[in-house]
Symmetry: C2
Subunit: 103 residues, 2 copies
């Protein structure tokens, strides 16, 4: 077996406010973020009841990961998702909470 | 003379988080918002030193107005712009401050 596949994540310094706000401007993506904020860490994509197709859903998770909002890790054939709360709060204090409260 | 022309503004209830976040996801629009937040009310569009053409600038002001972030009023041949701080803070508490702090 080779090494586990891994997905690219921006460092906190690489996160851009443009990408963060743009990612959060979509209601499906905010649903994902709200579910991650309200539940336990590391939820599989399949655990989200989203009103979109699987490929659209995959796209939304990728946009969130590339913005730096969520982490994604392979676990077998699943991808587990987590909210990067601490890093986001350090980089953009208050932003995540304000968006979640407004949602 | 007819009545003063007026521009459409969403009421606080009509503001959508999608439109607000999408409007704020652009650096030129955040520059406008930051200048309005830091200065006096009712600044003419010409008072903003923006690195874009006049028509692009006009577009950015319109996106901000249509989202509910700024007010625009005709004053003679100029348009005066103001930040809708109070209404935004009531509708989406903490959001404007978090974005301005992150900018």
């Amino acid at each position: 077996m080779g090494p586990a596949r891994s997905l690219e994540h921006p460092t906190p310094e690489q996160m851009s406010l443009d990408s963060i706000l743009s990612a959060l401007a979509d209601p499906v993506r905010r649903t994902i973020v709200a579910q991650l904020a309200g539940g336990h860490d590391d939820q599989a994509c399949i655990a989200f009841a989203l009103p979109v197709s699987k490929s659209t859903s995959t796209h939304h998770f990728r946009v969130l990961r590339e913005a730096g909002i969520i982490s994604q890790q392979y676990r077998g054939t699943s991808i587990l998702n987590g909210l990067r709360t601490e890093e986001l709060n350090l980089r953009f204090p208050g932003l995540l909470d304000a968006v979640l409260a407004a949602n």
